[in-house]
Symmetry: C2
Subunit: 334 residues, 2 copies
Amino acid sequence: MSGPDQNEGPVDEFDWIRRCLMPLAGAPEALGLLDDAAVVPSRPGFDLVITKDALVEGVHFLPDDPLDGVAGKLIRVNLSDLAAKGAEPYGYLLATAWPKGTGWAPREAFARGLAEDQQRFGLTLLGGDTVSTPGPFVVSLTLLGWVPQGGMVRRSGARPGDVVLVSGTIGDGWLGLKAAQGGLAELSTEDRAWLAGRYRKPEPRLALASALKGHATAAADVSDGLIADAGRIAIASDIAVELDLEHAPLSEPAARWLAGQGDRDAGLLALAAGGDDYEVVCTARESCADALVQAAAEAGVRLVRIGRVGAGQGVETRLNGRLVTPERAGYRHG
Amino acid sequence: MSGPDQNEGPVDEFDWIRRCLMPLAGAPEALGLLDDAAVVPSRPGFDLVITKDALVEGVHFLPDDPLDGVAGKLIRVNLSDLAAKGAEPYGYLLATAWPKGTGWAPREAFARGLAEDQQRFGLTLLGGDTVSTPGPFVVSLTLLGWVPQGGMVRRSGARPGDVVLVSGTIGDGWLGLKAAQGGLAELSTEDRAWLAGRYRKPEPRLALASALKGHATAAADVSDGLIADAGRIAIASDIAVELDLEHAPLSEPAARWLAGQGDRDAGLLALAAGGDDYEVVCTARESCADALVQAAAEAGVRLVRIGRVGAGQGVETRLNGRLVTPERAGYRHG
């Protein structure tokens, strides 16, 4: 989307705010985007949960990806952080750095994507900044949510003896990126399209909020890969996570891909190390694990046991009891 | 600062967080930067004020500007927004997009600048994101502050009959950018250095918080120029602002520069339209204006009357009673 439109001159950043962003900022806290700042009233009995993620064109999305989808992904990857914390989405601030000369069409597409997902997830635009850049499009979103006071599910609460669980299916995001880039010719068109959709439009696990708050000891979202994000729980909790990869939940397309791999173990490791799943990995006391699975199921989300917490440090990955070592700890952008 | 260091390999973004950012995140709310999000406890009786500003290399600062200074300016331009709202600084989230291959030296310089100003202004790092980019350095900061419940000074409170006042001196930022770029040869070395310092290291008017909360009807920070930012109060309050530019407070170096201009009126207009002053423009009831000036003086800040609020719309600029029209409404970055 970089570079000027051929049909029109460059767009003034202030005009963009007026035409595209003000309609997204209906809450009184946003002050119509006419002030220096937004004002969030104190909500007694609740803590504010704040997360911030940035996306860069050419790093986190492809230059010809439609910008409504990029806006949606930006909102969803931030919502995924809230989901893992058991928080309820509230509002966001947005900073966009548009390539010099960017016209209306990409800006309108981006705002359309914001509008669609903020309605879907009950969000409102609170404020932000918009500037121009001689480089590629860069956008940063600060997302706010609420949790009952003291109730945020942290990465640091896992204890030895806990069970490790993961939501949904693992590895679809990594396969979906390959599919979006034209790879995975061995799969059907339908499988490739489904996987690309999982990569482009992840579904944040907000439905898990109540189950996690009620039963989990720790949780993190799976953005950089199951192994890497389980590793972050291990670091924050100062414990060891042992993962049994043969229990990793796979989608049918991912299972078909795995069946076609010569080295099944390497394939399974790759799925567990791949990023962009936006599932939730969490821990719970053994005595609470069934209640957690049950509460998640009632919220429409499948949670499966995939390992346990030990007294050491770091992550151990096993396949049918054998220790296996991933080539890389997880997906890291650039 | 772009491009790889010659002496060392590229730096992993996670290593940068560990080595440079974790030491800045001492508050329990930041969870040691080990979690998906920060958690801000509700503060009964207070509202949270949130502002977000982004800077781009080559647009808002020069590629060879030292990055400790850029970090300081980023913190200060955000603090200036809080100052105009009467808010007390609390903490910030940071998103950095570093050019691929950026080594330790620029990152450490940037973190040093953050450390210095967060100590000076009583801030703490709460969270954020760090990514790489094929383009120039882009950084976005989300700043949080507290105001007593319902007490935020808005842009929208000005009413006809109010007095318009401005803090400090006007036009130094615009002259300072010229000085920093090697211009203003007609001025002394000392004047050029002082003006460049005003551009590079603005002093946010946080000391005004109590005076503004007690006596002002509306306020905005002067980031895009006195005329443009007074215009934003006019839009948000749906009133007209009339500015008497002959009362614009000038620093001695700015006054010396103005004395050397052939067209004094054009020079004064340029100072009032120039950006980057980070002063505060505000309004007050006529009956409260003296109390506001007095309270500001007790806080060590000079406020002077520079106009009044009328019943129309927009900004009228006058010079000794004559209506004058600025060539541009204010400084807008690219």
